[in-house]
């Protein structure tokens, strides 16, 4: 079979295309498909954000529970949470460092600030400096492997 004969058969086959159907995708289909694509990509971005937020909340929750456990132990009672020691408790610093490892430094700072407020003693400049030093120490440990 030569090329001409092959082309003839191909034309006949092409003619079997469903009667009345557009030769190719209708233009409305492009709009619908790309809208679907846009929606799905957006849903995937939301899913990622939700997963990250859930992970951060989990870490904060675990950290907070750890803090409560440490704060309520031994001679430290609930009163210790109100008008506590002059400097930020080491337990808060340790927990904030753990939060920073799991998420990032910014989240850890927010976490520490909120806990301090809940203790009835907002962070002082000295507390903030201690926190930054603890976070920097944590970063150095991580980078050292």
């Amino acid at each position: 079979m030569n090329d001409e004969q092959q082309e003839h058969v191909e034309r006949l086959i092409a003619a079997t295309f469903p009667t009345g159907a557009a030769v190719g995708a209708p233009s409305a289909l492009r709009t619908a498909v790309l809208a679907d694509v846009r929606r799905e990509l957006r849903n995937q971005r939301w899913d990622r954000r939700l997963r990250r937020t859930a992970a951060a909340l989990l870490v904060v929750g675990v950290g907070f529970n750890g803090l409560i456990t440490l704060g309520f132990g031994g001679s430290h009672g609930p009163a210790a949470l109100v008008g506590g020691p002059d400097r930020m408790q080491p337990s808060i610093l340790a927990t904030a460092t753990a939060v920073a490892e799991a998420t990032d430094a910014q989240t850890a700072r927010q976490f520490a600030r909120q806990l301090a407020v809940m203790r009835g003693r907002p962070m002082t400049e000295q507390d903030a400096a201690a926190l930054e030093a603890a976070l920097a120490e944590g970063i150095r440990h991580r980078n050292a492997g």
Partner: protein, 171 residues
């Protein structure tokens, strides 16, 4: 320049638009030829693209995104065909859904459709992918899991068989 596959894997919206513009028409023609309906073909194209977005990370390791999209569409067509066969008591082959017009070209089309139906399912699929999907033999071979040379031979043999039968019918 970054490859299209990498951009698709990253979820770049414009990359999906590029992919659509590159092959949606051929994909739609192929699906319509297989399913006998433009509406069903549109559904297939839409479903195929949605699946590609959901599995977009695979594009990072795909050499030919268009051929990969055809593979997804092919699987979707097979699913629809199976579902339709289960739902209908009598399944008419796609070519029998063609309506005869009064002109002779439509009559030739019906005869050609009947000739296509005489091919084996595998040979017919190669012919449809080549004629309607406009894929290369290498792409068809990759899709069907066979060498390009085998695909080319199968195609030429199928056409030769069709030609012989058509000549007898159209005399």
């Amino acid at each position: 320049m970054e490859l299209l596959g990498e951009r698709l894997a990253r979820g770049e919206e414009s990359a999906f638009a590029e992919l659509y513009d590159a092959c949606a028409c051929r994909l739609h023609r192929y699906a319509a030829a297989r399913l006998g309906s433009a509406d069903a073909a549109s559904d297939v194209v839409q479903s195929a693209f949605l699946r590609t977005v959901k599995s977009r990370r695979r594009f990072a390791s795909v050499e030919n995104p268009e051929a990969y999209l055809f593979e997804i569409a092919r699987n979707e067509i097979a699913r629809r065909a199976t579902r339709d066969a289960q739902q209908r008591e009598t399944l008419l082959p796609a070519e029998e859904q063609l309506r005869a017009a009064d002109d002779s070209s439509a009559e030739d089309a019906e005869i050609a459709a009947a000739a296509l139906a005489r091919l084996s399912a595998d040979d017919r699929e190669v012919v449809e992918l080549k004629v309607f999907g406009e894929l290369t033999f290498a792409e068809i071979g990759a899709l069907l899991g066979q060498p390009a040379a085998t695909t080319a031979t199968r195609y030429r043999r199928a056409l030769a068989s069709l030609r012989g039968w058509l000549e007898r019918q159209l005399r």
